[in-house]
Point group: C2
Chain length 185, copies 2
């Protein structure tokens, strides 16, 4: 198999019922699975912790601590690892606040409601800046992704009450297919 | 890249902080991501719908309708597709009942509470048999996977009440690392 994606072609392997990305050179089948993003809305005294991204995509924009789950960890471990990496923050997870599907890019986001397990946070290597925002201070026009907008709204609506079933995608984008630039941020 | 896994070696790519499975021939990096299983506990008049597996692993054992999420669909679409494939059942999803991590095999399971959207079900090609079980009829010794046991307990505990935050792994197997044969079934 080549690492050159141009050498991959779509074809239906024997015994399967859909096309798979297959290497035209050696026949290797690259099963394309949805990827899992794990992250947390971290509340501290009613404020929310946001990180300004030091990396692409969306460098300079604000997001919650979140990233791709690694093999061998649990969703909870992944969410805590991301907060440690991006915000040097140790989290206490409260439960799953939202499960979003971003079908456009094959992503599932499992997002927790969390607090700090120990005081303190700081910008990790993937963040330019980490700070707490009161609700009315949130930089809505400078959020990195539509789902950050969605989950902050879900967090606000949940308040301090016990969590219900996780929120799903908003009615306006049930499949997560709105292009990034057209998405209401 | 070869499709022969023996040609893959573990090494740390430039700029990364962990080992990745890399093709010894061409350098292709096979990012190993956790895979998402989507499924549903389908309740019908207080009974639960189970499928007897026609395929390996665990052929002949009972499970809920569930399977790997495909790229391009949402978690809800995936859960409904699996029920259609395995039980010819059209579901009405009620919400996420449980999110389990099976770290041993790199799996995350997103499992819904559901009912039938339209009456009727039947064994699909991946099932030997599909039937409804009253709680006291559930074949606990013949369930296919530990998580089927877990989620049926969660479903029973939730009853007909509004769902709370999704259940996670049970305290006895927080990371989902108990080998299948040792797991309490
Ligand atoms: Zn190849
Ligand atoms: Zn190769």
């Amino acid at each position: 198999m080549s690492s050159d994606p141009a050498r991959f072609i779509r074809r239906t392997p024997p015994g399967e019922d859909r096309e798979r990305l297959t290497c035209g050179e050696c026949g290797y089948i690259a099963y394309e699975n949805p990827k899992i993003v794990v992250g947390s809305v971290v509340g501290v005294d009613g404020k929310v912790l946001l990180c300004r991204r030091a990396i692409e995509p969306r460098r300079g924009f604000w997001t919650i601590p979140a990233g791709y789950m690694e093999l061998g960890e649990t969703v909870e471990e992944g969410a805590r690892r991301e907060a440690l990496e991006e915000a040097c923050a140790e989290l206490r997870l409260d439960g799953v606040l939202a499960v979003y599907s971003i079908a456009r890019i094959g992503q599932v986001q499992i997002l927790f409601r969390a607090g700090l397990a120990t005081p303190g946070f700081a910008a990790g290597p993937e963040s330019l800046e980490v700070r707490l925002f009161a609700w009315e201070e949130i930089p809505w026009d400078d959020l990195a992704f539509p789902s950050v907008h969605w989950v902050l709204q879900a967090w606000r609506e949940a308040g301090d009450a016990p969590l219900g079933a996780p929120r799903g995608n908003p009615a306006g984008d049930l499949r997560g297919t709105t292009p990034l630039k057209a998405a209401a941020l």
